[in-house]
């Protein structure tokens, strides 16, 4: 598995090795574009994220502070917490979407497969190619067909024509458990689908570029209970091949769907901090911190 985060001209000497990760750096071998790009090769088991001492905000406002969290491969990690605890800001730091807002800043380390995605020369677009995102409101491209919605990410990322596009679109739609519902109307508009279908279309679009990690920001909050359950069951299917981080206001959803849960809460300085994290089985039956207990039992928040 090769992870490339650097834009072509930047030379990677080495990436920091953490927790026993073995990194191997290959030098440029030929003049073609692909081969002149520095490569860091890692075993698949290292395709996790490790967040160290992350702080992020906007201008003088600190939205999250001092967050360290390990995202384990092939698991679902849920981020829960009251409004204003910095959940979404934290999530958006994991694929450098946060900095798209004017005045936004982030400090700390977010490593993907051992490489800091905030490291010098890292191309945010490449980061987002490896770390896909699904948003709260289903947002299919309104002028595009179902097929083109899924193909769009591939076309953008692969600099031109994709030879096996039909197969890739079908595979992504199957992965998103949408294929059977749309295979007869691939060239109709994506916006004609129901809310739940649109959200699965957005998941298919994110999966089409074959990311390693999928970030989901309240992916079911605009959906009815049945569509919500479909998304949750889909997540349990996807986690066999992908690593998922989900932000949710819905504590019950976090309890149902995740393997690990992290609880964020706003401190006195209004910055969101990590209060507790652990296996979901434990956090929802026997939380260690009284603030977590108070939140999950509905005593505040």
């Amino acid at each position: 598995m090769t992870i490339k985060l650097q834009a072509a001209p930047v030379r990677v000497v080495s990436s920091p090795t953490r927790a026993g990760a073995t990194t191997e750096v290959h030098g440029a071998a030929s003049a073609s574009r692909a081969d002149t790009e520095p490569r860091v090769e890692l075993a698949a088991s290292h395709l996790a994220m490790n967040v160290q001492d992350l702080a992020a905000g906007f201008g003088s406002f600190r939205a999250v502070d001092a967050i360290s969290l390990e995202i384990r491969p092939r698991t679902i990690t849920a981020i829960i917490g009251p409004s204003g605890s910095g959940k979404s800001t934290f999530l958006r730091c994991l694929n450098r979407m946060h900095e798209e807002v004017k005045g936004a800043w982030a400090r700390g380390t977010v490593s993907l497969a051992g490489q800091d995605i905030y490291g010098p020369g890292v191309d945010p677009a490449l980061v987002r190619r490896h770390v896909g995102m699904v948003f709260q409101k289903p947002n299919p491209f309104p002028t595009m067909s179902i097929y083109d919605n899924v193909a769009a990410g591939l076309r953008l990322n692969q600099w031109g024509r994709v030879p096996d596009m039909d197969e890739r679109v079908e595979r992504a739609l199957r992965l998103a458990a949408l294929w059977d519902e749309v295979k007869e109307k691939l060239f109709q508009s994506g916006t004609a689908l129901s809310g739940g279908q649109q959200q699965r279309l957005c998941i298919a679009r994110a999966l089409a570029v074959e990311p390693e990690i999928l970030l989901m920001d309240e992916p079911a909050s605009a959906l009815d209970p049945v569509a919500t359950l479909r998304i949750e069951e889909l997540m349990r299917e996807l986690v066999r091949s992908y690593t998922i981080v989900i932000v949710t206001h819905n504590m019950q959803q976090a309890a149902r769907v995740s393997d690990y849960t992290a609880f964020l809460m706003m401190g006195e300085d209004r910055a969101g901090r990590l209060i507790e994290q652990g296996p979901t089985d434990e956090l929802f039956t026997n939380p260690k911190d009284s603030r977590t207990e108070d939140y999950i039992t509905g005593r505040f928040g």
Binding site: R230, E233, R256, D281, F284, T285
Partner: protein, 219 residues
């Protein structure tokens, strides 16, 4: 595709409960064999095996709590989980009755030959048959079958009364056998209680299907 995770987890818990039921049932049968054979070594093995049954109960209880916390089950699912919590408690107690019979075997010490006790294996076989059908009725959600089983408890009670009468006769005939007689009555009482626990399981099966809490004690 909807709710497959909850269904899978419920099925897994039911399988674990069934497995625990078979282990407990086998322990009950073995306990009577051990008593009749006055086999001290086997009695000790049976007593220590009870720890595993206790652990199984705790593990299932913990899994039920996790499932409730994570999946917020409703209606039949919620009643089934509440029933499983109760049923594993009953199974664990039936395991304790088997352990108690093994303990009686050790206390008797094999000194005096036992009188013939045809009632004890009959009681054990009846209780085991009732247990296995009660668990099946729960798993199949068969309230009618669950309602019918407790009536059979009368047969176990009748056998217990026979043992009791025989032991009183034995003491009258030979007062030196007072201890032995008490031990045997104790063992028979454990078997009678085991069958009573099956009635509780039947009540939980009916509750899971209908939502009604009903006493099913026939006698």
């Amino acid at each position: 595709m909807t709710r497959t995770t909850l269904d899978r987890e419920l099925q897994r818990l039911q399988d674990e409960m069934s497995l625990m039921g078979s282990i407990v049932s086998r322990a009950l049968g073995e306990s009577v064999e051990v008593l009749r054979a006055q086999d001290g070594a086997a009695a000790e093995r049976l007593m220590s095996a009870d720890d595993a049954i206790d652990q199984q109960r705790y593990a299932i209880e913990s899994d039920v709590l996790i499932l409730i916390a994570r999946h917020q089950p409703m209606a039949t699912d919620l009643r089934a989980l509440a029933a499983i919590l109760e049923i594993v408690g009953d199974l664990e107690r039936i395991g304790d009755y088997a352990k108690g019979i093994a303990k009686v075997t050790l206390m008797m010490g094999g000194a005096v030959p036992l009188p013939p006790l045809p009632e004890l294996p009959l009681m054990a076989a009846k209780a085991r048959s009732m247990l296995s059908r009660a668990l099946e009725a729960f798993l199949r959600q068969d309230a009618e079958a669950a309602r019918a089983i407790p009536q059979e408890d009368d047969e176990v009670d009748a056998l217990y009364n026979q043992v009791n009468a025989a032991m009183i006769e034995m003491i009258i005939a030979d007062p030196s056998r007072m201890d032995q007689s008490n031990y045997i009555t104790w063992a028979a009482h454990n078997l009678e209680r085991a069958a009573d626990r099956v009635t509780n399981i039947c009540e939980r099966a009916v509750f899971t299907v209908t939502g009604d809490m009903q006493e099913l004690d026939a006698s």
